[in-house]
Symmetry: C2
Subunit: 194 residues, 2 copies
DNA sequence: GAATATCCGACCCGTTTGTTCCATCACGTT
DNA sequence: AACGTGATGGAACAAACGGGTCGGATATTC
């Protein structure tokens, strides 16, 4: 049925909201079903169990993240703006994902390899994006780097480095300050001295 | 002992953080004790039970709210600025309290009357503050209203009206727009036409 | 009206959780 | 050393919870 897939999607969206707030363990099936205004057992018609819903949610969020990031790049034109936009959106969206990290590190380590697989794939894609941005900026004469590949890897490393304090719930201002610092560092180190 | 009260305060601060994130029901004693790096049963040396901790937390938050609001008023001088500041801070702080509302409306209606008592007291105090602000602004010639008392009540009603959609998780921009709308409405209706 | 898709109330049962009990520790006083 | 006292936490427990199952009800389609 066409409706069945549509309803699965609706479950995913709803569950995503609740999971992101309470984490995997603290979110109950009853809660999800109540949010959907359906009986608890009805959900089992669409999903085998709680874990499968969670995996579908993570997959859904990953796709959404990808979409937002590509949109952020297309939004502006110049390479520095693209990079800046990308980093900002990445940070903002990752902050929302902190709950998933909490959920994962909660206690149930069962999903760990599943998460890791998604993460690895995302890392590969991100590196390609950054590399392209650097490469294009280089060609246009805005950037001036020797090796796009390794420069991209360096940038990605910095971004990853920002995730840890992000998840450790620093103050908003602290986050922004760090973000600006990273940005100016990246740009000052990358921009062609005119 | 002096330390005992101090430790009670520490428990309250820690529990406040966890309650505000997960709500009353989903916060466990074990979690609180782990955050305090103490044994679960040790907490019962300071509080009779979970509910009492929650009540102490709500009381603590209420006092903090009061302090922040009075500070917001003292921060600026002119009556319109005071009112604007008050409303902004009130909205921001109330948004943080939404978790308490969730906790209360969760299922356990036991605390309801306790919350209501605190709320009633806060309402009275707020009305007095607004009334004073209006009154002073009136005297200074910045405002021009007939009856400070009823004007204050009208303003308070508007503020209360904003709580509902606020807790219904609208978009940030929507909130700000509504807030600005309320502010301009209040000011345009209250400011002395020069 | 049979067949099928969708939904749900009631139940099962292992786990969680708030709370109690009691042994222990730290430590100042006698 | 012995003792009292403030403070701690491990163990145990009763009650509630929560994921999942099942049989049947209800809706939809043919």
């Amino acid at each position: 049925m066409v409706d069945k897939e549509e309803y699965r999607a609706r479950i995913i969206r709803t569950a995503s909201r609740i999971f992101s707030h309470y984490g995997f363990r603290k979110t109950t099936m009853d809660e999800i079903s109540r949010a959907l205004k359906k009986g608890k057992s009805s959900i089992y018609y669409y999903f085998p169990g709680k874990e499968e819903i969670f995996e579908a949610v993570v997959l859904y969020e990953a796709n959404q993240l990808r979409r937002r990031l590509t949109a952020a790049i297309k939004e502006v034109d110049s390479p520095p703006d693209k990079l800046r936009n990308y980093i900002y959106v990445r940070m903002r969206e990752f902050a929302k994902l902190s709950n998933y990290y909490n959920a994962v590190f909660d206690k149930n380590l069962d999903h760990y390899e599943f998460i890791e697989k998604i993460r690895a794939r995302y890392d590969r894609e991100e590196l390609a994006i950054i590399r392209l941005l650097v490469y294009v900026g280089n060609n246009r004469g805005t950037f001036a780097v020797e090796d796009s590949e390794y420069t991209a890897m360096a940038i990605q490393t910095m971004l990853k480095g920002m995730e840890v304090p992000l998840f450790w719930r620093r103050r908003e201002t602290d986050i922004n300050y760090r973000l600006e610092a990273i940005l100016t560092l990246i740009f000052n180190g990358i921009m062609k001295k005119q």
